[in-house]
Amino acid sequence: MIWFLTRRVLATVAVLLAMSAIVYGLFYLMPGDPAVLACGKRCGPEQLVVTRHKLGLDQAVYLQYWHFLEGLVIGRDYSSGPDVNHCAAPCLGYSFQSDQPVTSLLLDRLPVSASLTLGALLLALVLGVGAGLLSALRRGTVVERLLTGVTLLGFSTPVFLIGLILLLVFCAWLKVLPFPSYVPVTQNPVEWARNLVLPWCALALIEAALFARVARAGILETLAEDHIRTFRAYGLSERQVVRRHALRGALAPVATITAVELATIIVSAMLTESMFGLPGIGKLAVEATTSVDLPVIVGVTLLAGTAVVLANAVADLLHAAIDPRVKLA
């Protein structure tokens, strides 16, 4: 077990390092000068030299990357003439646009993205597992066919299209919900939820389609197992069998697929934020790419990549811990 853990942690660290190198390399070593971008439009040649030096762009490439990593782990100092700016760890540098530390930009936006994603995941879990259960128990009926169709629809529809349709129906025609704008939960929980209902639904419908498929397969597999037959033989009612045991068979694969598909979920959340104009990390990323704000792009990409890699590692470990049949190899 310890050997497995060590190896998994080491592999995760290696993947994270490789990813940071790729992301850093991709964006800072591209043709085009980051210093020009950092310095802005009205920037003389002297200022350019100062900026380049301040950002450390006049150093060798491996040193630049080393300082970047150093900033992430222990923080780094940017000196411009007499002033020294200390950027505390995890330091991702300063935004070219707003001159704010990227880390605090990300932290500011995190509550919005977290509200959206967690709420949608919860809703998707309920909808998806419910639909999966229903279609597993009503095999070969119209209900199953209908659910398969709806799942396929949810699978192939981009989240911004679902979002637009929801807006059209609930904001423009029925006028029951406001056009979403973010209200912090600490300020007004009711308004927070009312504004997030549509984004939650849009994102959840996409994820629910995925969960439904996986949950259905998991339930069918569990129901076919020997111990379920034994429970039935003991005289447990079908309801008890399903409620106590088959549902468990659905949850493990749903947890795994959440981790595996986290990359897709992040992308969908990003589209949802842009679609509804919610000021989350996804919207930050889109804004950063339109203004070529390199430190922010690198920061968001690294954050998302790290989340995915960590989620996969945790899912592996959890899976191994829950299911004794999984070999720790």
Binding site: S156, T157, T290
Partner: protein, 313 residues
């Protein structure tokens, strides 16, 4: 050597009879066939875009401000987005450009980019997957990590970032296809690698190796034919996926540059008009939905036809 030139052994494994059966099953699958017809019509409309717009007498870039109601902020006059005999699907709010022309020219971008990206993903994914599966443990260890990272990445985010830093001299549709490819080849490589690994220890491959065939001919002539089934399923699924990717990039403003029309771009504009001109949401949105549904249904049919044992999940 002469015995292997005709590669009869590889043929037995890929079982042409089974694939023949697949074709028969696909033809018997009514929903897949209907989907195929729809896909064909869409492709035809995209190819014939100049012809169709000439027939309508419009083009996708001319502004028609006289058709807009300036008192209502530029919403088209008339019902359902200004639908008329001159403008079959109405005109765009704000600019008055012909929606029908933009939609059929947009189909060229959507389908063209999605198809190009799918082909590129297959080529790159197969090459890397074969190298990982057949190139020995050390190469495999390295390439597997690379594939892992490629799959783990939030693809659209990376594509968006790539679009931002690549200079404008590259033609946009090509760039969109390349950006989509760059972040989506991973699962092709993974499937190819796994399949190649299971095939490489088969007897017919051993026979080819003993007969003195080099690694490249073995990979291309002995292993690759065995990969057709899973890769065809994957390719069929990838096309609608890439349509979504292109639309997503355009929606976020990182797709083809205006005035080149694309569906994602139209939907993006429509977010500001949905309250006053719902037709402008419904037309490109409905078309995108129908296209995706048709491709997905067809892909599902291909999967069922090629692998009849697979449980429908």
């Amino acid at each position: 050597m002469t015995l292997l030139d005709t590669e009869p052994v590889a043929g037995t494994d890929t079982a042409p009879s089974r694939r023949g059966g697949a074709w028969r099953r696909l033809r018997a699958d009514r929903s897949a066939l209907a989907a195929l017809v729809l896909v064909g019509l869409l492709a035809l409309a995209a190819l014939a875009a100049p012809l169709l717009t000439a027939l309508e007498g419009q083009d996708p870039t001319t502004f028609h401000s006289q058709l807009l109601d300036s008192a209502r902020g530029g919403v088209p006059h008339g019902a359902f987005g200004g639908l008329s005999g001159d403008h079959w699907l109405g005109v765009e709010p704000g600019t008055g450009r012909d929606v029908f022309a933009r939609v059929v020219y947009g189909a060229r971008v959507s389908l063209g980019v999605a198809l190009a990206a799918t082909v590129l993903e297959l080529v790159i994914g197969i090459a890397i997957g074969l190298a990982a599966g057949l190139g020995g443990p050390r190469l495999d260890a390295v390439l597997s990590r690379v594939i892992e990272i490629a799959i783990a990445f939030p693809s659209l985010l990376l594509a968006l970032a790539l679009m931002a830093i690549v200079p404008d001299s590259v033609p946009r549709p090509v760039l969109v296809a390349l950006a989509i490819t760059a972040v989506n080849w991973g699962n092709v490589a993974r499937v190819t690698r796994a399949q190649a690994m299971s095939l490489r220890s088969r007897e017919y491959v051993d026979a080819a190796r003993l007969a003195g065939l080099g690694p490249l001919p073995i990979a291309l002539r002995e292993i690759l034919p065995g990969l057709t089934t899973p890769l065809m399923v994957l390719a069929a699924l990838k096309v609608p996926n890439n349509i979504v990717n292109e639309a997503g990039l355009s929606f976020l403003g990182a797709g083809v540059r205006p005035p080149t029309p694309s569906w994602g771009q139209m939907l993006s504009t429509s977010t500001t008009w949905f309250q006053t001109d719902p037709a402008y949401v419904i037309i490109p949105g409905g078309l995108l939905l129908v296209t995706l549904l048709a491709f997905s249904l067809f892909a599902d049919g291909v999967r069922r036809a090629l692998d009849p044992r697979s449980v429908r999940v």
